[in-house]
């Protein structure tokens, strides 16, 4: 029984009077890909943002390789180096070129020298087919290209876990595919991933486990076949039905 890479124990989080996470228990094994599905406001984003300590949790514990990283007052910076996050709106640094966006993490945070950092960037950009955009600026790239750069930026830090927060929701449909290809690649390399998405078909294809979130709790979780094929909970069924009706499954 291997220690879970990431473990959330009874995590609670409120914004003012609004309880967004209402007791989350989740174990992520090394190399596992877990997809979070659920309606907007169900807490998917917040769960991810708490996992890399962007948001402090109110109660509960978050264990990373067995250590509680949610302890109040703990220095979060070293932890965040090991957990990568990719955002829905890419959030690339607009004043830096693509290469610099990818290289700046290793340079500033890991203290790698400029040449090595650039080499890392070049290699990642090549892997994602972005070599010809290496000197461009984010505002010159398409959405799909920007998101691939964002993933490369995160990967450059050599994270042990990746948190992907609806990374295709802001993309035009024809650009979604190139980003999902990258994620497939990450899975093939054995990356542990926590993945919030509306792309149900992709979730079905790539996940080891699917969690359905409803009002801040994991209402149901299981293999993709279980959740998509034979959902147990009423609300899960309703949610999936709405998705099917919208032609997204």
């Amino acid at each position: 029984m291997t220690t879970p890479k990431l473990s959330l124990r009874a995590v609670r989080k409120s914004f003012g009077t609004n309880t967004v996470l209402d007791g989350i228990d989740l174990d992520v094994a090394p190399g596992e890909v877990i997809t979070l599905i659920g309606a907007s406001g169900s807490g998917k984003s917040t769960l991810l943002r708490c996992s890399n300590l962007l948001e402090p949790i109110d109660d509960g514990a978050i264990l990373f390789d067995g250590d509680d990283i949610a302890e109040p007052g703990l220095d979060a910076d070293p932890i965040r180096r090991r957990i990568g996050m990719v955002f829905q709106s890419f959030n690339l640094f607009p004043h830096m070129s693509v290469t610099k966006n990818v290289a700046i993490g290793p340079r500033k945070v890991l203290g790698v020298d400029k040449a090595t950092a650039n080499a890392i960037a070049v290699e990642l950009l090549a892997r994602f087919g972005l070599t010809d955009r290496a000197d461009a600026y984010p505002d010159q790239l398409s959405g799909g290209q920007q998101q691939r750069v964002a993933i490369a930026r995160s990967l450059a830090m050599g994270p042990e876990v990746m948190l992907l927060d609806e990374i295709t929701s802001a993309l035009d449909p024809e650009l979604v595919g190139e980003v999902l290809d990258v994620v497939r690649g990450l899975k093939a390399d054995g990356m542990t991933m926590l993945f919030a998405t509306h792309e149900m078909a992709f979730a079905r294809e790539i996940s080891d486990r699917v969690c359905f979130l409803h009002r801040g709790r994991i209402l149901e979780q299981g293999s993709p076949e279980q959740i998509f094929g034979d959902p147990q909970e009423q609300r899960t069924r309703e949610f999936l039905q709405r998705v099917i009706d919208a032609g997204r499954l």
Partner: protein, 277 residues
């Protein structure tokens, strides 16, 4: 294709028409001024008092030399203003509770120095502080006059920088922190570069304003261009030296405002803001 050409032809006609109308109306205005103003009853006296060619020529070199002092004061004040403003803006932006005294000090500082007119600050700092020193070198009004300008202007510029910092979207910070950057690294590498690009136009305004306020140092002794113009005015009993000083100021401030406009437009173009006609 046809409609394109038709629009082009139309716009060309419109352009020609507006050029003709603009030229004609400008010519009429200039002619009217040129004809009517000299007919004003006391134009001769005004001309002698304000636009005397001989006095202009006589004053000009002296004023130019005095202006050199203004330029020097401006040149060493600007970097110090920038440094102090940055320090204050960043101080105000800290979030850790341990740094509360720093934040409070920054708030008090900006409130006080934005609230007091620059002239007052120049007198209080320029005459008041040097009295504490024995050595002449340290009581020099250039030091304390500049200090007064720096203190006053930093209060304004720091607010501009702060507005710029707050204008950088929170998601940029989120992305930087997610990479593991410390808050200092985030501020230095991600937030500030974006903030400073945004605030170039208002900062240019502050700089143009400073170019003129430098003349206030004359109140505590140094003879810079405004004072020199006043000396000439008293000696020659004529206001033309002031007109000459104004010309010299414009020689510097107009290019600066044009530069500010250019930078503003370039920024607008870069961020893709489109205009609706």
């Amino acid at each position: 294709m046809d409609s394109q050409t038709r629009r082009e032809a139309y716009e060309q006609r419109q352009r020609r028409r507006s050029i003709v109308i603009a030229s004609a109306s400008t010519a009429v205005v200039i002619a009217t001024i040129a004809v009517l103003v000299p007919r004003a009853p006391r134009w001769d006296r005004v001309k002698k008092s304000f636009f005397d060619g001989d006095i202009f020529a006589d004053s000009f070199p002296r004023l130019l030399e005095a202006f050199w002092l203004d330029i020097k004061i401006f040149a060493w004040s600007v970097p110090l203003i920038f440094a102090l403003s940055l320090a204050i803006a960043v101080s105000r932006n800290t979030r850790s509770p341990a740094l509360f005294p720093l934040r409070a000090a920054a708030v008090i500082y900006t409130d006080v120095f934005r609230g007091i007119p620059v002239i007052l600050t120049i007198f209080l700092v320029g005459f008041g502080v040097p009295g504490l020193f024995e050595s002449r070198a340290w009581s020099n009004p250039l030091i304390w006059g500049s200090a007064a300008l720096i203190l006053s202007y930093s209060a304004y510029v720091s607010e501009e920088i702060r507005a710029g910092i707050e204008g950088v979207h929170e998601s940029q910070r989120a992305a930087a922190r997610s990479l593991g950057m410390t808050s200092t690294q985030t501020m230095a590498s991600v937030v500030l570069p974006q903030a400073l690009r945004r605030i170039v136009p208002p900062m240019m305004n502050s700089l143009v304003s400073l170019q003129k306020d430098v003349a206030l140092v004359s109140l505590i002794g140094p003879v810079e261009i405004l004072r020199q113009a006043g000396l000439d005015k008293s000696k020659l009993a004529n206001f033309t030296p002031y007109v000459a000083a104004a010309v010299i100021f414009l020689m510097v401030t107009i290019p600066c405002t044009r530069l500010a406009d250019y930078l503003l437009n370039r920024e607008r173009r870069r961020t893709g803001a489109t205009s609706v006609s």
